[in-house]
Symmetry: C2
Subunit: 412 residues, 2 copies
């Protein structure tokens, strides 16, 4: 069976586990006497082979407050590991990333609270998630989570970060806990129609998102609040197609070559000067993509698709139009001949005529009809960046070919 | 006052009248012993100087029937004038056009009926129109009709023929009879909003046209049934503007030069082999213009304007588009991810993706994206014709400049 084959690839071996334990030993020594715990998928046993970072949380009494976490706690942690290869990262709060033997360890300061619903910062809930998942998943359940994670990675809907707007690891674990196994999750997902409610616990709030999984440790929070409708739809369709025709393609999609450039494709290559947090950059990139699409449509372009890809420094935005030549002038529809506004219309317009329907019409000049200018104007990045833009002539790199092809390889 | 100035130009002199009487004398001799009458604007005294043809009707007892008119009657008439310069013409029935000293005389066979509402062919009503008008218009009234006719000619809404779809001479006469004078007609027309009802007599039918003038001699007929909404609207706007600022421009518009070609303008020059009746050719041209516009829009073009001009043999159709480059491909909007039709959509489409709204999208190739081909395909002429087509580069002849300018010279 295909899923067993996949598990052979993605399930960590005892050796993998030992390698990570070795790394953790180093961290444990450094955090000696602090109130720390390993969290995340490694702790929960739902991690994928060669595809994990380790989360170590350091807890402080909840009375110390946020500022203490961000300064004193962080400084203390840095002092303990500063001889190692580390970087500072920022989510809601700053945390430390240590790289040991190519294993990434995130050391996250958090507040110790009594229960999930008492969380002060977003990370304070994490130990309760860990407890909930470990107490509800057996060994087989953990493998089912692994299959679901790999499936979601394969079809591109895994990852809570803004860049993806997909499913978090915790969400996949809750789906397996609720439905029992990987296949059952797919069977249900293939029948989804939003709003979708998956209630391991009664919600303590009315949620408006398309997919609603109230957090069992904090029911006034929707675990999947940030999952986009696009990702929900993609997952539902992929589930339906996988069940009809299971294939490794869903877990590990192949790369296909697309030869044809259809329509006019504008490529914007952005190079960001500063290093910013991924969620901040991608929040701005997503907003730029939306603004570009809206502006182009407003100016009269027929937009096929606008997508962005890249990392935190090098980002490509691709804009695909039916045609970049919409013309300098457009038909302006005026009032009926009997309207009081006709004199105003006649005064303000040129090239005016009466149509067969009794309306006045005129020809107007577009304020802007160069798609490249419009696209560039609507990039809203708050950091400095260089931009290179050009109209695509031929297929270029793999990402552009993927953009041109569009159809996921698992679909067709 | 401007109208008196105009009358000096358009009102025939005694000499003009004598010239026409001379021509009529020749015709009268030829039609000796037939039951004939002079009809039309010359008879009614509402004709314009150097701008009239003379209508002579030859009546036959109503029992002879239509076929007799078209054969025996016509042959008899032809035999009497065949040494003159004549041509055969076709409206609802054939009639004879004789040219004498550059004056055109139409000799029309008709049936003698008891009253207008007993008309068997369209022309049988004419003597009753003549009687109605002559008995309701005094000398000043006739001049008011002349002003209205010239005004309507100037703004392009005069002429009952299909090519114009404007006001007939009879309609202008009824408007003056109803409203009293030229100025009063304009004052009322400037306030028109369709449906407009002008009832010299109670209608004997429910009419659906925008302008309704029941025929006083046959109230089940709408005199202005064929006047297009475009012409009604144009007349109403011109009336409003003339009253605010009277000018000779309305009666005799000047020619203005338009320098700019805005958008992409396709010129189709049609040359018709056979000589057909104007109404038949222009019925087909009007239908072609509509079909071209509809087809182009359906194929995705943004049409600014499509117009036709010319005579019965040489016709120009001009097609103005915002852009002729709409691209070979278009965005195809598919079903929501939960729809039962998604499998069908996926099977039939290429370049498929899931949008942010949960819908499937695809890229489709247009069946046709060459505007020239589409325009040519949608010409529906039943006679043979040659066609030359090209994209306009510069302003060319006066008609094309008028098409490009659009704004009537009397408007702005």
């Amino acid at each position: 069976m295909i899923e067993e084959e996949i598990l052979k690839i993605i399930k960590p071996t005892e050796e993998d586990k030992k390698g990570i334990e070795k790394v953790l030993e180093i961290i444990r020594e450094r955090l000696n006497k602090l109130d720390f715990e390993v969290e995340g998928s490694f702790r929960k046993g739902t991690w994928l082979r060669q595809d994990t970072d380790i989360d170590v949380f350091v807890f402080y009494p909840k009375d110390v407050g946020k500022e203490y976490l961000e300064r004193n706690a962080l400084n203390d942690i840095i002092n303990r590991i500063k001889d190692l290869d580390y970087t500072l990262a920022y989510a809601e709060h700053p945390y430390v990333i240590v790289n040991i033997n190519n294993v990434e360890v995130d050391i996250v300061p958090a507040l110790r609270v009594e229960s999930g619903d008492k969380a002060i910062t977003a990370v304070d809930r994490t130990p309760f998630h860990t407890k909930y998942v470990t107490s509800h998943l057996d060994e087989r359940g953990k493998d089912e989570v692994r299959l679901l994670k790999r499936f979601m990675k394969g079809i591109g809907v895994y990852g809570a970060e803004l860049k993806v707007q997909g499913f978090s690891g915790y969400a996949t674990e809750l789906l397996i806990i609720y439905y029992g196994n990987f296949r059952k999750v797919l069977e249900e997902a293939s029948k989804w129609k939003h709003p979708i409610k998956i209630e391991l616990t009664k919600p303590m709030k009315i949620f408006s998102e398309p997919l609603i999984i109230p957090d069992p440790v904090d029911p006034k929070r929707n675990v999947t609040a940030a999952v986009s409708l696009k990702n929900i739809a993609t997952f539902s369709i992929a589930a339906k197609y996988y069940l009809k025709n299971p294939s490794i393609e869903f877990f590990f999609p192949s790369k296909k070559v697309e030869e044809k450039v259809k329509g006019d494709v504008l490529i914007l290559r952005l190079n960001l000067d500063e290093k910013s947090s991924e969620d901040i950059v991608w929040g701005q990139i997503k907003r730029s993509v939306n603004k570009i699409e809206r502006a182009l449509k407003q100016y009269g372009f027929r937009v096929i698709d606008v997508q962005a890809w890249g990392d935190t420094n090098n980002i490509t935005i691709a804009v695909q139009l039916e045609s970049k030549n919409i013309g300098q002038y457009y038909l302006n529809i005026g009032p009926q001949y009997y309207s009081e506004t006709i004199e105003d219309f006649i005064q303000k317009n040129d090239n005016i005529w009466v149509g067969e329907d009794g309306r006045l019409y005129s020809i107007k000049e577009r304020k802007e009809y160069d798609a490249e200018t419009i696209a560039k104007k609507n990039i809203v990045l708050k950091v400095k960046y260089n931009i290179e833009s050009y109209w695509l002539q031929n297929k270029e790199d793999q990402q552009i070919m993927k953009f041109l092809r569009k159809t996921p390889t698992w679909l067709k």
